[in-house]
Structures are given as C-alpha cells and as structure tokens.
C-alpha cells in the first residue's frame, strides 16, 4: 500500500468497466441520426497533402512531412481525422510550400508541360485552359465560374510586369492554398436541411481513394464515380481490391490503421532511462521497423487475420531479434520463429510504449488491452475524484508487488479487476520488452486469472498464453472491426463513433473468414451501405 494514500470515493460512483463486459462498446444498438457520419469538411492530413501535390505536379517533394510543418492533431490515437485545422502557423507553412512547389515546377519544366502556350497563342486563353483543366484536378471536381474567374484574376496579377509562366506559377500558388484543394468535402449536392445526404460522385471517388491510398482518385476510379458506379457496393469493393493490389500506399494505410489502433506508432516518440535500459537507443530503429514490417507481413504476406496478428509465433527479420529468443526461420519469407513471445502484444513496440522510462507499467499495458484490444470502456480515475499515486521505487519488491495496490473492496477495484490481470500477465517483459525471469532477486509472477464473463476468460501463465486466447476471441475480432471503423471515420469519438453500430451489424453479416481478416474488414467498411451517406447539414 506504500504510496497509495486513502483514495476517496466520489459519492458512491461505481466503476464504469462493469457496463461494457462481453465486448460491446456500451453504445451498440440504437439506430438514430447519430449513426451517420456528419456532413463535413476535412483538411488533408500530412501524408495526404504530400501525396496530393506529388500526384498533381509529379514532384518528389514531401513538404508537409518536413520538420517545419506542425504534426497532425491526433484524435483517439488516429492521425487522419476531421479535427485538423489551418491556424496561423500552418497557413504560413502552406504558403511557403506553395511558393517552393511553384518555383520548382517553373524551373523543371512542369509548368510548361501543364500549361503549354505556343508562340502566337493568346496567353489569357492558355491560362484559362490551364485553370479549368488543372484547377479541376486540384479541386478534385469541376470548377464553378466564380472559381475560374478568381483564379484568372491571380494569373493577371502574377503575369503583370512579368512573364506568362509567372502568371501560371501564381495560379498554382493559389490553388495549393485554396479551400478546394486543402479540404476534402463530404457534403453532397443537396441543399442544407433536407435530411441525410448522399455524397456527390466526385466526393465518393475522393472519399474512397483518400481512405485507401491517402491520395486523389486515379483515372479509373474517377471514371467509375462519374458513371455513377460507386453507388453500387460491388463496384466499390472491386475498386478497393484493385487499389489494395496495385497501390503500395493502400497497404501503407492498413499498416497505419493497425499501428495507430494499438498505439504502437508512438514508440517512435519515446525514450528510456539510459541508465536502466542502455540498449534501447541502439535497438529503437529495429523496434520501430518491426512495428511496421510485422503488420505488413501479417496483412499482406500471410493470413491477414487478427488471430495471427495477436497469436503469431514469428516475427520479421527487421525486428529487434537481439532482444528475443529465436528458434530458426519462420513460416513467412524472411521471418524468424520466436521462442519467448507470441504476437504483436508481446513485441517490443507495444511493451516499450506502454511502460515508463525506467520500469514496466502493468497499468498502461492493462488499460491498452482493455480499451484497444477487447473494447472495454474505462473511465479515468479523475472522474471518480480519485487521486492516483504511482508506487514508489522499492528495490526489495517486484513491479507486480508494487502495483498490487487495488484492494477488492475499494472503488479502484471496479476498473482494476479488469486492468490488473491483463497488465500483470506481461511482467516477464521489462520496460523495453526484454524477457526477465526475475526482478530484484525475486521470481517474476506473471500468472493471472481473467474473469470477465468474456470469451477470453481463463487462467493464464503469462501474456503469451493470454495472447493466444485473445487471438482466438470473437470479442477481439469485433473490437478490431470497431477500430478499423474508427480509424476510417476519424471523428475521434471512441465508443461513440457515428456509424459504428450500423457498421458492426453489417460486419456481422460477412462470412466468418472475412470477419477475422483486417483487410477484409476494411473492405466491409467500403461496402457497407452508410459509406455513401452523411447526416444532414
């Protein structure tokens, strides 16, 4: 009990965890307008901005990924979401990037190619042709007259006292900072206030292509959209499969979804106490690489199933093998069998992310399993007016002994009966993910009993045994589906994502094999009937 002084109970509140047992989010079922994603505009996220300028200008520049650009605002862990804004810093970065891209396009002949104007042609007519054709590409839809005229006004200013190409470069600067370019719209064509809206064909093309590839629609997708074909889920599915098969960026998207779902992408931002984990700095690059490459290997070179993500007995050769006990080559090309750990939850990225700089952290790990793997909502201790005192260091105790401070009769137990067994099961792995048999001279105890009336219940010797159970759990499969939906929708409302109840109902109608498959679940999202619909303005 050292360090955990009298926690107080705010008015007899009961722990929130008990409401969500059985793997539902506690929000399921009730169909209403809340089940639709709101009609909205969404500023391009960093990789989307870069991919879009690359598609438009055939440049290799990635301005938004550079060190000067602010990062994307995360919502519920996801970087692609509808909360991104253009503030006073970003507006300057966008202006700088537009200047640099326009200068590059002028210097390398791109402008001459995109806006040809032969000697004797009327420059104003050439400019108009550029504005209407290239402008429509930048806006991802045809321009209206006001927009054409506004862009031609930019041409006039830019060419005034300068050359034709200077005018074109100025139009390009404007396009790259315009609302039409920066915001993806999901507004439909219907007037406001008339009820749910169907996405317009151009919007549908962009919604599908940015979801899968973080980039604008290619010619085939656009043609299908304009022919009205994307209203048909069969055609949406065909297009999604085409992009996933042919476009590496679509596979990157799946990897990003999984990394942000499990929060392991944050391993890039963490550091360890160099006195306690001196090897971490040297291994960090391989830990980050594994967090990408293992997901990619499971999703695209092996079964693609969530059961393998959590239950694999192998990892990729780019991983921190020096940290693991290996047992020869694995089933996937270039993979290595592992003797001491099972699945992504027992890999270093997860274990090191959910730990402190100087110690393992059973609570961080347990909360991550509860919230992100089995979809149990947990309230913050602050909402019970609880003051949480982390246990003090004690060289005579194991981490588990120090963190075993949530007595059964306390308000803490309501949540910690859920959290602690999950978290303690990982205690054979230290704060950077290395195996340990003992700690402070004592044997590590990682045995737990998960008893939540769930399909992953059971006594487990350690997190490897628990991971095998989670890998086989229908609840975990459904939780994966919920997070694929949350990543795709990007509203940042975990446990209240619009469209989630309807999507989960739809996903449950898919073949069992597809339900357990990460890519197939994403395709199910593309197929689901609400994909094309948004709530009224």
């Amino acid at each position: 009990m050292a360090g955990l002084g009298g926690a107080t109970n705010a008015g007899g509140a009961t722990a929130g965890a008990s409401t969500g047992l059985g793997g539902t989010s506690g929000k399921g079922g009730t169909a209403s307008a809340d089940d639709l994603i709101p009609a909205r505009v969404r500023r391009l996220a960093t990789p989307e901005y870069d991919a879009t300028v690359q598609a438009l200008l055939a440049t290799t520049a990635s301005p938004a990924s550079g060190p000067d650009f602010p990062p994307d605002l995360r919502q519920d862990g996801f970087t692609v979401n509808d909360a991104q804004r253009v503030d006073a810093v970003i507006v300057e970065r966008l202006a700088d990037a537009a200047d640099e891209l326009a200068s590059e396009a002028k210097a390398n002949g791109t402008l001459a190619r995109l806006a040809p104007c032969a000697a004797g042609d009327d420059p104003a007519a050439c400019a108009r042709s550029f504005v209407t054709t290239f402008g429509a590409k930048a806006y991802r839809r045809p321009l209206v007259d006001d927009e054409v005229n506004a862009l031609l006004a930019l041409y006039t200013v830019g060419a005034d006292g300068a050359a034709y190409e200077d005018g074109i470069a100025h139009v390009l600067r404007g396009l790259l900072q315009s609302a039409g370019f920066l915001y993806l719209t999901e507004l439909g064509d219907a007037p406001p206030g008339t009820g749910p809206v169907e996405l317009a064909p151009y919007e549908l093309a962009s919604t599908l292509s940015y979801l899968l590839t973080s980039a604008p629609a290619d010619d085939e997708l656009l043609a299908k959209a304009l022919a009205g074909k994307l209203a048909d889920p069969v055609e949406r599915e065909a297009q999604a499969r085409r992009l996933l098969a042919n476009d590496a960026r679509a596979r990157d998207t799946v990897v990003r979804f999984v990394r942000e779902w499990l929060g392991i992408d944050r391993v890039q931002e963490i550091a360890k106490d160099t006195l306690i984990y001196p090897a971490f700095d040297g291994l960090k690059a391989s830990i980050v690489a594994e967090s990408n490459d293992f997901v990619r290997a499971v999703a695209f070179e092996s079964t693609g199933n969530v059961s393998e993500l959590f239950g694999a007995n192998w990892t990729v050769s780019s991983g921190p093998l020096a940290l693991y006990r290996t047992a020869g080559s694995g089933p996937v090309a270039g993979s290595t069998l592992l003797d001491d750990r099972v699945g992504i939850l027992n890999q270093a990225a997860f274990l090191a992310t959910y730990a402190n700089a100087h110690e393992s952290h059973p609570i961080f790990r347990g909360v991550a399993i509860a919230r992100r793997v089995v979809c149990l909502p947990l309230d913050s201790p602050a909402s019970f007016d609880l003051s949480v005192v982390p246990p003090a260091p004690d060289p005579t105790k194991t981490t588990r002994e120090r963190f075993s401070v949530h007595p059964a009769d306390s308000i803490c137990a309501g949540c910690h009966d859920v959290i602690d067994p999950f978290g303690f099961s990982f205690e054979h792995f230290d704060g950077m993910g290395a195996y340990r048999a003992e700690e402070n001279g004592q044997d590590v105890d990682s045995s737990v009993v998960v008893a939540l009336e769930a399909d992953y219940d059971g006594p487990y010797a350690d997190s490897n045994a628990m991971a095998a159970a989670l890998a086989a759990s229908p609840t975990v499969r459904e939780c994966m589906a919920r997070y694929v939906l949350r990543a795709a929708v990007g509203t940042g409302d975990s446990f209240a994502t619009p469209g989630e109840p309807a999507f989960v109902e739809f996903w449950r109608t898919q073949p069992a094999a597809a339900q357990g498959n990460i890519v197939e679940t994403l395709i199910a999202y593309v197929k689901n009937p609400t994909f094309t619909v948004r709530d009224a303005l």
């Binding site: 705010a10 505009v41 202006a95 200013v157 100025h170 600067r173 106490d273």
Partner: protein, 480 residues
C-alpha cells in the same frame, strides 16, 4: 464523455439550450477601455512541467500577504528576488497564489490544456478541452491582437505534438494551436516581415511580394468563404479559424519591408536537434532562452502582444541541474508530499529531499520567467505585461490538479495589485480526507483567475469556459 463531438459542438455553436446562460455574453461582448484607464496590454502564458513543490512554495509562518521573503533555503521562488542574476528584484511585480484547483476532470498529465481554457478535458486518452484559451480569447475573439502585425504566437520547447498534455493555446472548440519549437521559425514568424532592409532591390522585391501576397490572401479567403457557405455550424468553426489565420498572414504581407526604429534580433542559428527524445534535450535550455529573448523583443517592438510558451524538461544525462536522467520517473513520480501537497489528506510528513529536488526544477523554471521579465523590462514593456505561469499539476506523484501553486508576474499596467502572496485555503482542510461531497470541501477553481485576467484586459465577462457546476466557472478571483 457521452455526447458526440459534432453534436456537442453544434449545440454550443448554436447556443441551443444554453441561450440564457451568461457565458454567451463572453462571445458577444466587446472590449472597451474606459477613458484614461490604463489596461494591461500584453499577456504571456507560461507552462512549466513536472508540477510544483507546494511545501517549499508556500507562504511561511509569520509572513503576510505583503511582507515576505523569497530568498530562503530551497525557495523555488528565489529568482524573483535575485538582482544579481536578473538585473533587478521583481518581488514587487509578482503575485503568488496558493489554493487554486484546475478543474480538468482528468489526470494531471492531460491538464496543461486546462490552464488557459478553464475547460475540462473530454474524450479520454488524447482528450481535448472544449473551449478556446485565454490568449486566443483576448487576441482573436476580443480582437485585442488586431493592433499588431502578429495577433498572437505560441512557442514551445521540445514537443510540437498537438495535444492537451503540453499545449496552452487552443482555438475555438478547443483545438490546439500549432506550437513553434524552432527558434529560427519563431524568428521568421515574428520578424521576417520587418527585416527586408532598405536596399532598393530588396524593397522592390518586397513590393512585388506584397502585391502577390495580397492577391493570394484575397483569393484564398474568398475560396474559404465559398466553402463556408456550404457547411454546418461545427465546420464553420474550422473555416473561421482558417480565415483568422489568413487575416494574420495578410498583415504580415502588408508589413513586408516596413521600417522600424526598434532594435531587431539577429536570426538565430539552427539547432542540430529540436525534439524531445531525438537528441534535442541538451539544447532545451538554450532554446528556452532564445525563445524568451525573441519574445522580449517582439513584445517590446509591439510586433505582438499575446504569447504562450510551453517549457520542456531536462531529461538527459549530465543536465545542468544534476537532475535524474529521467526527470519524469526520477523526480516527479518519486515526490513524497506532506498533506499540503496531497489535497489535505493525512499522508504523514513526506520526504523533504524529494521536495528539494522538485524545487530545484521549479526554481529553474521560475528563473526563465524572471529572465522573461528582465527582457521585457529592458524593452520597456514589463509594466504593461501580465505573465501567468503555471504547471499542469501540483503534487506530481499523485498528478494532483488541486491546490496548484500559481504565479502572476509583470506590472499589468496597475490593474492588479502586485507584490503579494495570496494564500487561499486548501480545498480540503489540512489533515482531512474530505471528498467533493463533503461539507468541508470547497473548491477554488482557477476559472476565476481567468475571469479576473479577462476583466483586467477590459473584456466584460463574468465567467470563463463552462464547468458542470456553473458557479465553478463564474466570477472573479476574490481578493486578487
């Protein structure tokens, strides 16, 4: 959190169901300076990490509101009375406040976002406040930043992540503002338009850039407005912020090549690393100083009047304070408080050695505030500036957001009585384990400080943000 964000924000935007609440007057009110009355003109919010050693911060026995010493052993506040280091004593331009609660409704780590917003942090892990911050409320929503080329600036050290954890400045709806962590970018953001020089070719280029810039701002603004006409209320908020940002950029284009008698700083040289955990830590002290020096000149030259600065930590081997390599685990989490730092709870006497360690870091942070005061004083604007310095928690081991020691500094143009140490009662009497339902419990929400500061700037408000209990966001701080 149960309401869905867009719905909640929609209601807020429309005022649906809340139309009678005085909060909306905040939005509608205009500021007005009473004839001849001096108002504070400049505001700087400062965040410093790791909580505060309340046991060593507190007013000592025998001292009073106006009669106190800051130079005692292990005083975190010593830099405010250290003429040898900071040019003069700032004891008479300081107000310390004890007994304020940050009603963030979340763990201390997510509570930096509450400091200037007065808002609860909603949405669990990765949650955000619901309202804009005081600096943005004053500079943008109350238009007090319109008078200068740069309406406001948000600087930080080591961490540019947009989150409630280490962010002070938030736009409407509680969306974090981008933070500038690179002093070179800070220099460009504040001074680029002013350093064109008088060389004729540079002036000619500036003239063309002014013309091109103006046409771009016109075009993009009209384009944003065309989109704005098609969207619902929540989305309008996004596009309004974009329009505000374009207006700020427009002013810089207009000011391009303008001349000033004000001494401008030299462009800083680039640092090899800037980000925490990417090797940037050894430079954090120097980056902090550069940010402070740039702010001193930017406010002194009246380039901006509203700023925030989020300080970083010093987590690296051989740091100048000789703190543990892992400041967070080795200093903050090992804090062993007395009841004063533990919401009154009877926890024993605590361990003074852990207080001294944190007080050392607090003294470092307050030393940076004193440096900021020195720079503002040198450029002649300290008396018209109000600095508000806070951490996101008090006791860092318990991550407590209750009884968080707070510092106001500067002259505030005489609108606040400075040179005082104000000590409110703790929300639970010392030595008791009272909870929020107890008759002994009496919170003193820092929202009232935000109300007081807004009022000092001449903005007619009687509440700031909203709390579940309306009274907790209402009224000025008594006795300030």
């Amino acid at each position: 959190m149960s309401a869905r964000r867009s719905r909640r924000t929609f209601l807020r935007g429309m005022g649906t169901g809340f139309a009678a609440l005085p909060f909306l007057r905040v939005v509608e009110s205009s500021y007005a300076q009473a004839a001849g009355e001096a108002l504070p003109q400049r505001f700087i919010g400062v965040y410093h990490p790791h909580g505060i050693a309340a046991e060593l911060f507190t007013l000592r026995d025998g001292e009073t509101e106006t009669s106190f010493d800051l130079g005692y052993a292990d005083s975190p506040l010593a830099p405010f009375d250290d003429a040898a280091t900071y040019g003069k004593s700032f004891k008479d331009k300081l107000v310390t406040i004890e007994g304020l609660d940050l009603l963030s409704d979340t763990n201390g780590h997510n509570s930096a976002g509450t400091i200037l917003t007065g808002s609860r942090i909603v949405g669990g892990t990765g949650g955000l406040p619901e309202y804009s911050s005081l600096d943005q409320f004053l500079a943008v929503e109350s238009s007090l930043g319109d008078a200068t080329v740069v309406p406001s600036v948000a600087l930080a050290v080591g961490n540019k992540e947009l989150s409630a954890r280490e962010t002070l400045s938030f736009g409407k709806g509680g969306i974090p503002l981008s933070k500038i962590i690179d002093p070179v970018l800070a220099f460009n953001f504040l001074f680029k338009q002013a350093i064109v020089g008088s060389d004729p070719s540079a002036q000619a280029a500036a003239e063309r850039q002014r013309r091109l810039g103006a046409s771009l701002i016109d075009f993009v603004s009209e384009d944003v407005k065309r989109l704005r006409a098609r969207v619902g209320p929540f989305e309008e908020q996004k596009l309004d912020q974009h329009l505000d940002a374009l207006r700020a950029l427009e002013k810089k284009y207009q000011a391009l090549g303008s001349t000033s008698d004000c001494p401008l700083p030299a462009r800083p040289t680039a640092f090899p690393e800037l980000e925490r955990y990417n090797g940037g830590e050894p430079y954090f002290d120097a980056i902090t100083d550069l940010h402070i020096d740039l702010l001193g000149l930017a406010l002194g030259c009246d380039i901006t009047r509203f700023a925030t600065l989020c300080m970083g930590d010093l987590s690296y081997a051989g740091n100048p304070l000789d703190l543990p390599v892992d400041n967070h685990g080795g200093m903050a989490h090992t804090y062993n408080a007395s009841p004063l730092g533990s919401e009154g709870r009877p926890v024993g006497d605590g361990d003074p050695a852990t207080w001294k360690l944190l007080a050392k870091f607090n003294r470092y942070a307050y030393g940076k505030v004193a440096r900021l005061m020195q720079r503002l004083d040198e450029s002649g604007v300290l008396d018209s500036t109000l600095i508000y310095a806070a951490s996101d928690m008090g006791n860092p081991a318990s991550h407590s957001t209750r009884n968080v020691p707070t510092v106001l500094a500067g002259g505030a143009n005489g609108k606040l009585r400075m040179g005082r140490r104000i000590k409110y009662r703790t929300d639970c009497p010392l030595g008791t384990a009272c909870d929020k339902t107890s008759s002994d419990y009496e919170t003193n929400p820092h929202n009232r400080l935000l109300v007081s500061i807004a009022q000092a700037f001449g903005v007619d408000v009687d509440s700031f943000a909203r709390q579940p209990l309306y009274a907790n966001a209402t009224g000025p701080l008594p006795g300030l």
